[in-house]
């Protein structure tokens, strides 16, 4: 029998500490939607996604209501479009993005991911066309998210793609200059990309996945912050870690329940639960505030990396016990614009891009939702990507860059993206040139630690 204090604890987590299920994402294979005729291919895509996902939103809302736990987003991820579209003779894949946007509207989801290419070792014909289409595709659509994987531990870093993506990010920013370059918020470059990630902008349905699958992303920075607050500043790190593990376990169990229930009702196999702590711009839903709760004045000061390491590890330990299948990114997200504590830390000058880079060595993603001056040279953006890729490749982990060079904005300006994408102070980047380095091209070979067989 449940005891009242347990019931009250759950209700408090949901209503006072912003605990929610961040996303139910349905992954759908589009490998059977190839056609030499692009128009036919897009019809197949529209029909297939609609058929599988048309009840996703309603089912998500039912589960939300019956269990009394908010499910913030319902989303769709698909096979990287470069693989589907390259069977056609099309020379530009923007129309594919427009089709995805229409399907997203039809199904009522708020994002659809998979306008993607995997080019960690090189480009196919379709990869090249897709990447060149990104700026136009993201300007022509609202709900489509794009990602490009350009490095893996096993293959090294495709520096041609690194240079190319620097240019593409700049062009994407210019195409959506009237909306503070919001196109770049829907574009992420990866190293060691997971194929079952439910979170945007990086979600796509990997080639090793089944026809369709349900992946769930949990959230709950507020819950974790409150358990640290409750144990007090005199508790040692063993106690802090233990309490975070307990909280992560409880949160993840609900994620598992929701994933299984959605899977059963939609008759789509359950894939994974992603253990990431995902912040939102709301007060009390901040990863930076967890770090500060541990005893640091402002996130970004010395000690922040250690605090994040403890947090990330404890969340994984607690969460992995609670779910039968863990996957995706599974760690802590540190997006700047989507986390009120991070925003404040940047504004006060305590959190810099260099410190964020250090934090990405141990968190789940990378330089995420960072706005920089619009006149930053593309080679500098490419060099930032190369640094993140190096961290991922050498440490056998996923890293990513979602960076927004906002046209016309300077260091210290503030840009509003609205909604979950939040508010971003423009951050300073190193102004010494990286251009000749980026212009070398070629591939940085895979490191010695890739040779494991």
């Amino acid at each position: 029998m449940l005891i009242p204090s347990e019931i009250v604890e759950t209700i408090k987590m949901i209503h006072e500490e912003n605990f929610d299920i961040r996303t139910i994402t349905v992954g759908i294979s589009l490998r059977d939607c190839c056609d030499s005729n692009g128009k036919k291919s897009r019809e197949k895509i529209y029909d297939k996604i609609t058929k599988i996902a048309e009840n996703l939103v309603r089912t998500g809302e039912d589960i939300e209501k019956e269990y009394g736990v908010p499910i913030i987003n319902k989303r769709i991820s698909v096979t990287p479009i470069s693989m589907v579209a390259e069977a056609s003779d099309d020379k530009n894949y923007t129309e594919y993005a427009v089709t995805l946007d229409k399907v997203a509207d039809r199904c009522g989801v708020n994002f659809i991911g998979g306008f993607s290419a995997l080019v960690h070792k090189g480009y196919t014909k379709g990869d090249k066309i897709l990447i060149d289409s990104i700026p136009e595709a993201l300007a022509a659509t609202n709900k489509v998210c794009s990602s490009v994987n350009l490095a893996t531990t096993r293959s090294g870093i495709n520096m041609d793609a690194v240079r190319h993506m620097g240019m593409i990010i700049k062009q994407t920013a210019e195409k959506s200059a009237d909306k503070n370059a919001i196109g770049c918020a829907k574009l992420v470059v990866f190293t060691n990309v997971p194929e079952d990630n439910p979170f945007m902008a990086g979600a796509f349905h990997g080639v090793g996945e089944s026809e369709s699958t349900i992946n769930v992303g949990i959230s709950g920075p507020g819950v974790v912050q409150n358990v640290i607050k409750r144990v007090g500043i005199n508790a040692d790190f063993g106690v802090v870690s233990e309490e975070i593990k307990r909280a992560a376990f409880k949160i993840t169990r609900v994620g598992e329940l929701v994933a299984r229930e959605a899977s059963r009702r939609l008759n789509i196999p359950f894939g994974i639960v992603d253990l990431s702590l995902a912040p939102t711009p709301a007060r009390g839903d901040s990863v930076a505030h967890i770090i500060e709760e541990m005893g640091l004045e402002v996130c970004g000061t010395h000690g922040s990396t250690a605090a994040l390491a403890l947090l990330n590890d404890a969340v994984k330990k607690g969460g992995s016990m609670a779910s039968s299948y863990v996957g995706g990114l599974s760690g802590s997200f540190i997006p700047v614009s989507e986390d009120v504590g991070m925003i404040d830390a940047v504004k006060s000058g305590h959190l810099t891009i260099e410190k964020l880079e250090a934090l990405t060595c141990i968190c789940s993603v990378g330089l995420d939702m960072i706005a920089i001056p619009g006149d930053t040279p593309y080679e500098t953006i490419s060099a930032i990507i190369a640094d993140e890729a190096a961290i991922g490749v050498i440490n056998n982990k996923t890293t990513a860059v979602r960076i927004i060079p906002v046209p016309g904005k300077k260091v210290g300006d503030i840009v509003e993206f609205g909604g979950l994408l939040g508010t971003a102070p423009i951050m300073r980047v190193n102004n010494a040139s990286s251009a000749p380095f980026i212009h070398r091209g070629g591939r940085i070979p895979s490191p010695l630690n890739a040779l494991k067989n």
């Binding site: 029998m1 019931i7 019956e66 269990y67």
Partner: protein
Amino acid sequence: MVKENTTNSKRAIITVLGADKVGIIAGVTTALAKLGINILDISQTTMQDILTMIMLVDLEKAAKPIREIIDELEAVGKQLNVEVRFQLEEIFKTMHRI
């Protein structure tokens, strides 16, 4: 096709929270009786004039689908000026029991 609410969980936790006054328990339990919902367990505390009531209920013989039950209970809560929350029991069991 979406499967209807064939969830294994046929029990739910209903929590009522609000300023204590005459008739809250009567109002909520009358609504439950009308809906064919049996109360299995009930606990209640009043602290500083705030009433917290937790009920475990059985939905086996419920007269309506869960969605409609929730809407009706929320409407009753509004009339009584208290918060009435309905949640399938499974969420609590999942979180607190291994």
